[in-house]
Structure formats: C-alpha cells, structure tokens
Amino acid sequence: MTDTTHQPRQQQLISLQVNGEHHELLTEPRRTLVDALRHDLRLTGTHVGCEHGICGACTVLLDGQPVRACLMFAAQAEGSEIRTVESLADGRQLSDLQQAFSEHHGLQCGFCTPGFLMLAEGFLAERPEASKEEIREVVASNLCRCTGYQTIVEAIDDCATRRRAALRSQLEGNGPEHTGPEHTGHQDAGHQNESNSETGPPRAACEEDRCGSTTRSR
C-alpha cells in the first residue's frame, strides 16, 4: 500500500521485514504488530502483558530502536526492519547478552525476558558506554514481577562492560584503523528523586561485593 487508497475493511496485504526475512501477510488493519508477529508469523518469543504500552513484554526493535509492539498496528511497520528475540541467538549459541542474563539469574518465569532483552539490545547499540545508573533507568521502562530488577540491571551492565573491554582490547591489538561507534549527543538522563550523596555512606562501597551476599561461596 503506497497510496491513499481505500481498502476493504476486512483484510489488507502487508509485507513485513522480520529478523532479516521478508513476509507477506493478509490481515485486518486492526491487527497489532505483536499479534501479527506471534500468531501470523508464529514468532511467539515476544509476549503480551498489558496491551497498553506499560509492561513492555512486547518490546521489539524497529529499525534498531526499542518499541512497544502492542502499540503499533502491523501495517505501520511496513517498510521497517523488525527484530525480535528470536534474532539474538546464533542457532543454539546464545548471545553474550542472553548469557549474561543467565549468569546473573536475570530471569525467573521468563515472561518479561524477551522484552528486556530487546530493550537492552537496542539501548546498548545506541549507548554502549551507558553507566549502570543509565541502565537502571532504561530497565525501568519494563515491568518484571519475579526478579526485583536488580539482576536484570546487573546482567545488562555486565554485558555492556564486557563489550567495552572487548572493543578496547580489539583497538589496542589492531591499531588505529578500528574506530569505536559514533554516538549522538545523548544527554545523561538524571534521576528523578532527590537522593543526595551526602545523605549516607556511598553505595559504591557495597556494589562491588554486594555487601557480603554470598551467591557463589559460603
């Protein structure tokens, strides 16, 4: 559809580019993108949690940016590149981000997980140097009912840290012809609340060893 044409109310033919593949779908105009992905394309990794754009279980990448697939009609996505959670692993090999989630126990029931993965994937691509606080702010985009968020933040932070280290060692090993990714001037989004670092002992003292929590040794 490229014109201001009037299609019959019943069905329309749209084409979607998903995970590098081209698909033609015959759907009602009101078919949301998340339903088209899940039920027409059988990509059930993306989940539905609220259908009003708050929980983020439906988060996918649209032209590289995280979006709510429940707040789009499939027709609106025509002409864009869509990426879902199914695009992260390489066959049976999980991506570094997925592995980080597993290592940090960043998922329990797993229902919110694809949404968080795509959120992180899109965000880190744009902000590879994101601080842990920035990551926490972005993680606040989606809801999780199982983890309390801390391990999700840690998983994404760990993945970002490792990617930066890998890039650095690549740069050091290979000389000046490799350059880092370009960033646009993304403002360091501050924190809403009024926490004052003078109020109490710096939390950083606890962050490194998680204040004695003994996940791996007793």
């Binding site: 201001t4 109310r9 606040a140």
Partner: protein, 290 residues
C-alpha cells in the same frame, strides 16, 4: 483488549492526508506514533472508523534552527530524536527542551511518540504542551487547500484534550522563536515515567549585568484542563531582585495560591498545591543553575 475494526489509509503527503480527513469527517483520526491513540483503541475508548497514517510522511521529522535562532521541530520528530539531536542544532539555548524529554514515559515510548502527536493530543500534563506555553511556541498547521496556518500556543490549547486544530488540519511543525538559556522543566509522579501529577516549567531572564532577575515565566501542567501560565507568580519574578531561595520560594508559593488545582485519585487540591510549591522552586533553581 483488541481494538474495534477500522479502515486504514496511508497518506502520501500532508495535503492528501488533510483532504482525506475532510472527506471522512468525524469518523477519521490521524495516527502518527500512536502511543496515546493505540492504547485508547485497545481499550475501545477510541473507536475511529478510519485511521489516516501519516507516520511515513517525509520532511516532517527534522529539527533545525533558523537564521534568527528560532528552533523548528517537525511534527513527526520523535521525542527520542529530539533527545538525541546533535548539540549544534539543539544547543544550550534550548537545553530545557532536550532535558524535558527524559520525563516523557520511557525510552520505547519516546522512540515512537511524536512531538506533533503530543501537542495535538493536548494532555495538560504533557511536557511538550507545557514547553509550548512556556516559550510562546507557534504551532504550524496545514489544511487540505489553504496552505499553512500559524497558531500561537496561548490560543492553541483550548480545553480538556481540545486544541484549535480544525478536524481536517494536520500539525506539521512547532516553532520555538527564541532561545531560553535559563529555563527548566520538572515534574512529579508516584512512579518514574507516569503522567505527571503536577509539572512546572520556568524561564528566567536576567538583567544586563547578569546578577539580578528582570523577568520570568512560570507555567504549570496538571492543575487545570490545559497548561497555564501563572501571571501572579511571574509578577514576583518581574519585580526583579536577587535570584535565590527566598525569591524562588515566594514565586512558588504565589503560584500555588494563584491556581485552583483539581482533586482526584492522584491527589487532593492541597497536595497539588504542595507539589506546585516544590516543583516551581525546583525549576527556578535548575534554571538558574544553567
């Protein structure tokens, strides 16, 4: 929660979209980012029989400055595009606009939601609406035949989710005519990312010499059906004087007393007044600190 059926139209250009709106009448709605509209449609609170998708129109997504230093933002620019616009284009003179973006929902909303969509939706707590009122923006609309119409922000917001746009008009651009280097916007909601219970924005002007205030503008969102300027509070700033905690507190207290905020599930009138005092003061401090 699935929406009611509709016919989908994809516009090729603005005039075509406007003509379609004129032809289809009441039962048609424009969809751009859809971050407000699709949610309402999923609840079946909105049930347009026709959707005119302008999301693919080119030439309406840009951010640029003009020769006079005014800022032009295309109606289809996403909040995220504004948030990440290069500093050469969105510089310190309009830092208040860039910084306000982080208050809008969350990242995945900002990647789709548009400036024009937010302005046309006219929620009184919306950051774009507050900025437009604070900074005397001009809203540029285009209809089916007549070319462009420029509407001052003060005239644009007319009531509860109501603007001066004609049913067949499409917002194409918002213009902020002059830089506001000492301006700030802040808000409060129970959870980060929620619609603000109260939002406050101020724009301070210093007298030559740079140590005394000469004037200021104060705007509030969430205290009435549309975002409002508060002249009584602005008078306090216009008296001139030493910008600082005392002056800001007086300005904030005056603002709180001069409006009549509603009482609802998010807070009583009294609580909103407390928020107004806190947020106006905070906005003044942030503006001064730039």
């Amino acid at each position: 929660m699935k929406p009611a059926a509709f016919t989908y139209h994809r516009a090729r250009d603005v005039e075509g979209a406007a003509r379609l709106l004129a032809e289809l009448g009441d039962e048609a709605k424009v969809i751009a980012g859809g971050q407000s509209l699709v949610a309402m449609m999923n609840f079946r609170l909105a049930r347009p029989q026709h959707l005119v998708d302008i999301g693919g129109l080119t030439g309406l997504g840009g951010v640029r400055t003009d020769a006079d230093g005014g800022l032009h933002i295309g109606a289809l620019a996403t909040h995220h595009a504004v948030e990440t616009a290069p500093r050469e284009i969105l510089g310190p003179g309009f830092a208040v606009i860039r910084d306000a973006m982080r208050w809008i929902g969350h990242l995945p909303i900002r990647t789709r939601g548009t400036v024009g969509g937010s302005l046309a939706h006219a929620d009184s707590t919306a950051e774009w609406c507050l900025l437009a009122v604070l900074l005397d923006a001009e809203l540029v609309a285009r209809g089916p035949y007549d070319g462009e119409r420029r509407i001052a922000a003060a005239d644009f917001f007319q009531g509860y989710y109501t603007t001066a746009l004609e049913p067949e008009e499409i917002l194409v651009e918002v213009v902020f005519p002059r830089p506001a280097p000492r301006a700030a916007l802040t808000e409060f909601a129970e959870r980060r990312g929620d619609f603000a219970t109260v939002a406050a924005a101020v724009d301070l002007e210093l007298a030559p010499g740079g140590t005394q205030l000469s004037a200021g503008r104060v705007a509030l969102g969430g205290v009435s059906a549309l975002p409002v300027r508060v002249p009584e509070a602005e008078e306090v700033l216009a008296r001139g004087g030493q910008p600082g905690p005392e002056l800001f507190a007086e300005c904030a207290a005056t603002a709180a007393e001069s409006v009549d905020p509603p009482s609802d599930g998010n807070g009583s009138t009294h609580y909103r007044r407390v928020l107004i005092r806190t947020l106006v003061e905070r906005a003044c401090e942030e503006a001064m600190a730039r």
